[in-house]
């Protein structure tokens, strides 16, 4: 193994990956900030996370990279769901400041964070060069083995504390969203029975409404279905159309024909019923 050669070969590839992925990651971060729709922001976060993961992998930390994708794609997915549940499916951002002095506080915190970051980078550049990850990975025979040893020996307390924190957070979320049920949930059987009792009492259909166009000679949504005996099922036309009076009457010939086909005899049609379908309900 030739260390200088290794470093030269590794560095150039690494640098290409870094410049591509870092650009994308920053663009993703900017996209998150400027997009109006919260869902787009969530997507940009996911994009940034994936780019960071690729950088981790190229820096000889494959385990971290993979975990980054697995954990953060799941996390962003949850964010996505929360956005849809709380903000609405296609809500846009409003730029009205709701918390007083929010912008000022944000500016101060950003400056503080930038100072911290610059300090850390300058410190890192001036001090002794950090040991390469190759050497660190070689100690335990691999990246995964090294992380496993560190997590379960040196950092076991921190690890356990973080897991406890996460469990508490999960419990808290469950407590906040918990809803006590005051009466037992009706079972499928009970609901089915109730449906049929309603049917027996009021004649309300227990099953699905007939779809428009069943046995009809016309497949438009405003043309009611014909039942197998040729009678007209007005409930197959959606309620809004009926409200607007946009119901089209099937032709008398069609109704007669269907009835004749299914029964082999003709059927009496009440002309008024066919004409005034819209007012039936």
């Amino acid at each position: 193994m030739n260390p200088t050669l290794l470093m030269a070969a590794g560095t150039s590839g690494e640098q290409i990956v870094f410049w591509i992925c870092a650009t994308f990651a920053v663009l993703g971060g900017l996209g998150m900030l400027v997009s109006k729709k919260p869902v787009h922001s969530a997507l940009f976060v996911a994009f940034t996370m994936i780019n960071l993961a690729i950088i981790y992998v190229s820096l000889q930390a494959p385990f971290l990279g993979m975990i980054q994708i697995i954990v953060y794609t799941g996390a962003v997915m949850m964010l996505f769901v929360f956005v849809m549940m709380i903000v609405g499916v296609d809500a846009s951002d409003s730029l009205v400041e709701t918390i007083k002095g929010q912008r000022l506080m944000a500016a101060i915190l950003v400056l503080a964070f930038a100072a911290l970051l610059i300090g850390a980078i300058v410190n890192g550049l001036q001090g002794a060069p950090a040991p390469s990850l190759d050497a660190a990975n070689a100690v335990d025979g691999g990246n995964v083995q090294g992380i496993a040893r560190l997590i379960f020996t040196e950092y076991i307390i921190a690890f356990e504390v973080i897991s406890a924190l996460l469990i508490v957070a999960a419990m808290g979320a469950m407590m906040l969203t918990h809803r006590e049920r005051y009466r037992p949930k009706p079972t499928q059987e009970q609901m089915s029975k109730a449906r049929f009792q309603r049917f027996a009492a009021t004649g309300q259909l227990p099953g699905n409404l007939p779809p428009a166009g069943t046995y009809a000679r016309h497949n438009a949504i405003d043309t009611p279905a014909l039942l197998p005996d040729g009678s007209i099922a007005i409930e197959s036309v959606p309620d809004p159309l009926q409200e607007r009076g946009d119901t089209r009457a099937p032709s008398v010939e069609d109704v007669t024909e269907v009835a004749e086909i299914s029964e082999g005899e003709s059927v009496v049609i009440d002309g008024d019923v066919v004409e005034d379908l819209g007012d039936e309900k």
Binding site: L6, P62, T73, M84, A200, D229, I232, A233, V273
Partner: protein, 463 residues
Amino acid sequence: MTDQLTGADFLPANEQSLALFGLDPVWLVILKVIGVFIILVLIVLVTIWAERRVVGRMQQRIGPNRAGPFGLLQALMDGFKLAFKEEIFPTAADKMVYIVAPILSVVPAYMAWAVIPFGPEVSIFGHTTPLQLTDFPVAVLYILAIASIGIYGIVLAGWASGSSYPLLGGIRSTAQMISYEIAMGLSFVGVFLFAGTMSTSSIVNGQVELWYGLLLLPSFLIYATAMVGETNRAPFDLPEAESELVGGFHTEYSTMKFALFFLAEYINMVTVSAVAVTLFLGGWRAPWPISIWDGANEGWYPMIWFLLKISIFIFVFIWLRGTLPRFRYDQFMRFGWKVLIPASVAWVLIIGIIRGVSDEYGLTPIPLSITAGVILVVGGLYVLGWNVKRRRAAHLATKTIPTKFEPLAGGFPVPPLPGQEYRPVRRTLSGEAGVASTVPVGSDGAPESDAGIGTTDEEVRGG
């Protein structure tokens, strides 16, 4: 290339096979990529055909048999048809995301195959190389990560369509992915513990003596269940439940964009089968009676065993679809969170203890693990069966079934209950009542005719 050459020096004993990777010249890498792509496309075409034929046979019909011999070209023709159809964008769609979603679904489906081992080292144009695109120490985690990116395609398709049914499908898919990926990840832990590695080629090498599917029976069964949920296949196909959500997440998709979703679903099906084979059924290694022959695990033959094992899984997928009704959504979630995940955690705990104890006292963990696995599976099934029996008994105890069969009990026609004798109802042709006059009127005095179902009383019903 140079930095990977030296990797073998640091590799632990069970990851030595990793040293074989990263040495291919560029032309060979491209060749392998194209090879994997072609194999996948072919498998998908055959799978779609097989699914339609097998389901057809299971439903007492023939299935597609017109395009090509035995209808083999059906899937290809469907693909052409989709390509030439009219492109439709829903008005309410978020156009950018709407277009990205199917791509995001299909690209990761292909990417997962980068680490699937098809076979041992072979010679391609004088170059000795493993039949696998690449491998690295966290290959199985890579598959998990890629799979979780792939789900974005479905979720985004649901959201971007700007329509209710797709949105419901997308949300269902989110919940499904989060719930079942936990069980899936936990089922891998057992394999990692015994293989001591997360690289796919090393895991296959660890199964020379015994398949992990037998050694870790509960892990295998949990994975086999979770993989059906993860691929949105029946009986867990809730994101695209056509009886509830029209087409689910892809309701608003047409043409090639729909074809991409279709392609991704089938590739994912093959991918999870390949992962199951690699992790639990010895990968490309020949099954027992064949493995007696020395040449079975050398050269190109292992690819046959690998593809055969995958096709068994695919057949099971099709079989499930032809057999089982779709889960109700709450039952599906309850099953994931209250059965699969606790069972996985318990099993991980047990094998952790077995591994620890046998390492400590120098025992071999194999018989212990197999015994524990069989006990857990049999015990679990017994408890499940006992629970179902108990609930059924409790349910029946609440009922009092009258011995006399009332065809119109409650005012509407009902089938006989258990223990009641069926008396056929003869329909009259007079059309007066619809049921014979011998049949009693419903107990609550509801009229015999079914007036009120249809439209008006004037209409003549039932002839």
